[in-house]
């Protein structure tokens, strides 16, 4: 088995806010991320897939196909969007880096052909990233 990782980038706005809490509670837990005017990041997405090397093509997976899936399912939906306001999975779920990783996993899991999704890593910034590997 070989692991293969492909990167993509998207730039999005978000804020952290729980409607069930007061403004003070939100600010206490989420700090400046609770500013309802939002703020943004350049996210880097790393998608790792696992599979056997095809003896003919020498590929674990068709890189172009993987790139296209990531572009279609994630980048086109998230890039230059406000995650809370424009991406359906974050209407009721706070778009933390952890939840973004889980949401991207759900978007990709059934769409990757010929290999198994191994890990989704989302960098919110170079010093902060979240990994989701499914429920195994």
């Amino acid at each position: 088995m070989v692991l293969l990782t492909r990167k993509a980038e998207f730039s999005s706005a978000h804020y952290y806010w729980n409607d069930a809490w007061s403004q003070q509670e939100n600010e206490k837990v989420f700090g400046k991320c609770a500013n309802r005017n939002g703020h943004g990041h350049n996210y880097t997405l790393e998608v790792t897939v696992a599979g056997e090397i095809d003896p003919v093509s020498g590929f674990v997976v068709d890189l172009k196909a993987l790139k296209d899936v990531m572009e279609r399912e994630v980048v086109q939906v998230y890039d230059h969007r406000h995650l809370n306001l424009e991406v359906p999975e974050f209407r009721a779920v706070i778009p933390t880096t952890e939840n973004i990783a889980i949401a991207i996993w759900k978007r990709l899991e059934q769409k990757i052909v010929g290999a198994r999704l191994q890990r989704v890593r989302v960098y919110e910034m170079p010093d902060l990233f979240a990994d989701y590997c499914g429920e195994r």
Binding site: Y16, N18, A20, V29, F30, G31, V93, I94, P95, T96, T97, E98, N99, A101, I102, P126, D127, L128, F129, A130, D131, Y132, C133, E135
Partner: protein
């Protein structure tokens, strides 16, 4: 759902790789220029990976502010702008980045209240880094029980 959160921290410290168990010649042979009696320094980067269930309310594995406060207090403040050889944990062992990585893992693992510590990675330079994820037996048990 279980997710992993990683955060990077930085500190700058000096050290000298030297052991009294070796002769001066052996120290020089093993440690090379790292054995310079006057020491030298690095800008270290520590990457801390914690795991846990994503809290249904906050959407977080752990509160990042709390984790930052904890790591800065326990690790960054302790080592930043210090001579590692003078730290009590390196009184009897050489402050290689391997040993530094183990010490950081031990300190964080002992008192971390913000999720489960999965791995500590210490980068000494852009080209040298060391990782410790606990001992394999416990790691296997953790994996089995997750």
């Amino acid at each position: 759902m279980k997710a992993y959160l990683s955060r990077r921290y930085r500190f700058s410290a000096s050290h000298r790789l030297h052991t009294d168990r070796y002769s001066p010649e052996q120290n020089q042979a093993v440690y090379g220029k790292c054995n310079n009696p006057h020491g030298h320094g690095h800008n270290y980067t520590v990457e801390v990976m914690v795991s846990g269930e994503v809290d249904a309310v906050t959407g977080m594995v752990c509160n990042l502010g709390d984790l930052d406060d904890f790591v800065r207090r326990e690790i960054v403040d302790r080592f930043d702008e210090k001579n590692l050889n003078l730290d009590a944990s390196f009184a009897a062992i050489v402050p290689t980045t391997e040993n530094l990585c183990l010490e950081i893992y031990k300190v964080i693992n002992a008192t971390l209240a913000h999720g489960k510590l999965e791995k500590v990675r210490v980068e000494e330079t852009a080209n040298n880094f060391f990782e410790y994820a606990g001992e394999p037996a416990s790691a296997r048990e953790d994996k089995d029980s997750s």
